[in-house]
């Protein structure tokens, strides 16, 4: 007997018992749907975060005092707070000594300021970056209008500013901002440029800032921030090519260790990270969630599998006479076995398909609600169906064996 025939028989049997088939399937559906929903949800967030994290170019990495993406424990936090600050001088050392890099920028950040032009004022949620001309390249955020900071501006300490898109929109709704004089935190600056718009799924944070020469920042705001802590420079470094990125990171670490007198054997007292390393640490976090969801789904599927076995045993008993008829017509053991096994597998896979679709739907609710990129992790869909097949195979085997071994006469006599 061909598989196709057994398949048709299986479908006909499932159709003949729609309600019972459906009830049995709820277990499979919820198991598969929960796995797929979590995986889809994570994929959605992952895709979005990867996009967001691509602030640094593929050749760029950053050196800073603090951990990328925040500390993971209190103990680590205390250790990090005790680190020495990173300085512009260290950035200069990297520029001088590391041969595999071409751009080295310095950034100092502070937030909670106001910008004013004539009688228009922003909220006091403006972020100020004291930076260098490498800023746009190393952050892949380019100047759309006017010009970038020049080395001259930094050296001389000119009071010039490049505005983020949102700030420019707010202060200059109708006029050209270039060459206009504005006040930032009560101090006068000349607008020399405007950044391109940089949308973010996480809010408007990436546009609501302005860039001034790092020297002006230091002169204006001093060594200590509002909390009284010494300011630490973020050093952005660009490798000469993407292939050289790892070498550049290694050499930079060596230079930084030397500059900061880190003894051999001691761990780095600074953090180096690239896009890859940030995405990797995000993936480390989600791996746990994924494993948890997988385990829960697995348990649900095993429970569902036992349900399938139960219902198949009931089905075999109910159809004892049918089995007897089939045997009297010449069905061999294998034909009966195939028929019932396939019935269990088809049943599981119907549940699997519904579960996968439901899971995709549920998982993408996040993306529909937030405008995140939507995701359809097909490998999990395929995996889910393969798994359903295995569940059907394992839990359908015993009832199918029972069916195939029925004695034809006993079966025909069954009422």
């Amino acid at each position: 007997m061909q598989i196709w025939e057994a398949f048709k028989m299986a479908l006909s049997a499932i159709r003949a018992n729609k309600l019972r088939s459906f009830l049995t399937l709820i277990g499979i559906i919820s198991g598969v749907a929960s796995i797929i929903a979590v995986m889809t949800g994570i994929s959605v967030i992952q895709k979005t975060i990867e996009k967001e994290m691509s602030v640094l170019g593929t050749r760029t990495f950053q050196v800073q005092k603090f951990a990328a993406g925040g500390p993971t424990s209190e103990e680590e936090q205390r250790k990090i707070m005790k680190r020495k600050v990173v300085t512009v001088a260290q950035a200069d050392a990297i520029r001088e000594k590391v041969k595999t890099v071409d751009l080295v920028g310095s950034e100092l950040w502070d937030f909670g300021y106001k910008a004013k032009y004539k009688n228009i004022s922003t909220n006091s949620n403006l972020t100020i970056c004291g930076g260098t001309p490498e800023y746009p390249e190393n952050n892949t955020h380019y100047v759309r209008l006017g010009r970038n900071l020049s080395h001259e501006d930094v050296k001389v300490g000119r009071k010039v500013v490049v505005l983020g898109h949102a700030v420019a929109e707010e202060l200059f709704p109708f006029t050209d901002p270039i060459e206009k004089r504005i006040k930032v935190d009560g101090r006068r600056y000349k607008v020399i440029g405007v950044f391109e718009e940089k949308k973010s799924a996480f809010g408007a944070g990436f546009d609501n800032y302005c860039l001034i020469p790092v020297t002006v920042f230091q002169r204006t705001y001093g060594r200590f921030n509002k909390q009284g802590r010494e300011r630490s420079v973020n050093v952005t470094v660009r490798a000469k090519s993407a292939e050289l990125l790892q070498d550049a990171i290694e050499e930079t670490r060596m230079v930084m260790r030397f500059e900061r007198n880190v003894k051999p054997g001691e761990e780095d007292d600074f953090t180096v990270f690239s896009n890859d390393s940030m995405i990797k640490s995000f993936n480390d976090v989600t791996a746990g969630v994924k494993a948890g969801a997988f385990l829960i789904g697995l348990i649900a599927l095993i429970v569902a599998g036992i349900g399938i076995m139960n219902i198949m045993l009931v089905s075999v008993t109910e159809r004892t006479r049918e089995i007897g008829i089939r045997k009297s017509l010449g069905a061999k053991r294998r034909s009966i076995l195939t028929q019932f096994l396939l019935e269990a597998i088809v049943l599981c896979n119907i549940g699997g398909v519904v579960g996968v679709l439901a899971g995709f739907g549920l998982g993408n609710v996040v993306s529909i609600l937030t405008g995140f990129a939507n995701a359809v992790p097909l490998e999990w869909a395929v995996g889910g169906l393969v798994f359903c097949t295995i569940v059907g195979l394992i839990f359908g085997m015993w009832p199918a064996v029972v069916a195939s071994r029925l004695d034809p006469i006993e079966a025909l006599r069954y009422e």
């Binding site: 089939r326 069905a331 061999k332």
Partner: protein
């Protein structure tokens, strides 16, 4: 010789008590014979049919079907014999309720691995032979008893077996419908099939050319009555 059983016994164990359903029965049936097996209830008729139909194996004795020793065969070999050489007609029809007449009739062909195109032709041909073409897409529950038994006969003959085994085929039918069914069986006999018929009705048994009577699992009599009257058309056998 189409079928031959020698000293066949069948013993069932009911708890500790042995029930001798067949006791050392020997019987030879020629090709294209039309034979009725009669006897009171519990005399072993069905047991005999099951053995002859390869649904059951005897406890002891030998069974040759078209020269082959069937008593030593395993489940799957017996299944193949049933599929190829034997067609069953049961008192309770034994159709699969959720399948249409066509699909019921097609089933033996599915198990013999006949290609789909051929299957359709053969199944429709068998359905036509029993005059059920206009009911082919109906389910058994939508048919009368006579129509169900005709569907069962179509299924029995679809694989072109040589032997048709009918266990009380008219037992659940009124006498008019019973006669219709017997007419079909008579036709199959004329077409060359060996027909073995179990019945307890004399009128039905008279369609056959040989009547074997069982009692307590043994052959009580084995006669070839003189053909008269309405069965004159098959006397020529």
């Amino acid at each position: 010789m189409a079928l031959e059983i020698q000293n066949v016994s069948k013993t069932y164990m009911m708890g500790t008590e042995a029930v001798h359903a067949l006791q050392s029965v020997s019987l030879s049936i020629e090709e294209n014979e039309y034979i009725a097996i009669m006897g009171p209830s519990g005399s072993g008729k069905s047991t005999m049919m099951n053995v002859l139909g390869c649904l059951d194996t005897p406890t002891s004795g030998e069974y040759y079907l078209e020269g082959e020793d069937v008593s030593k065969m395993n489940d799957d070999q017996l299944a193949e014999i049933r599929n190829q050489k034997i067609g069953f007609v049961f008192q309770t029809f034994n159709l699969i309720p959720r399948a249409t007449v066509f699909h019921n009739v097609e089933l033996p062909l599915v198990y013999s691995g006949t290609p789909p195109a051929e299957r359709i032709l053969m199944a429709n041909d068998a359905i036509e032979r029993v005059g059920l073409t206009d009911r082919a897409t109906h389910k058994p529950t939508e048919l009368s008893g006579g129509q169900r038994q005709r569907a069962a006969i179509a299924r029995a003959l679809v694989n072109k077996p040589t032997i048709i085994l009918a266990d009380e085929p008219t037992g659940n039918l009124d006498s008019v419908t019973g006669r219709e069914i017997m007419a079909i069986l008579d036709g199959l006999h004329k077409a060359g099939n060996t027909i073995i018929l179990v019945t307890h009705e004399q009128e039905i048994a008279e369609h056959a050319h040989r009547i074997v009577k069982l009692r307590d699992g043994q052959v009580e009599s084995d006669v070839r009555p003189n053909r008269v009257g309405r069965n004159a058309d098959v006397v020529l056998n």
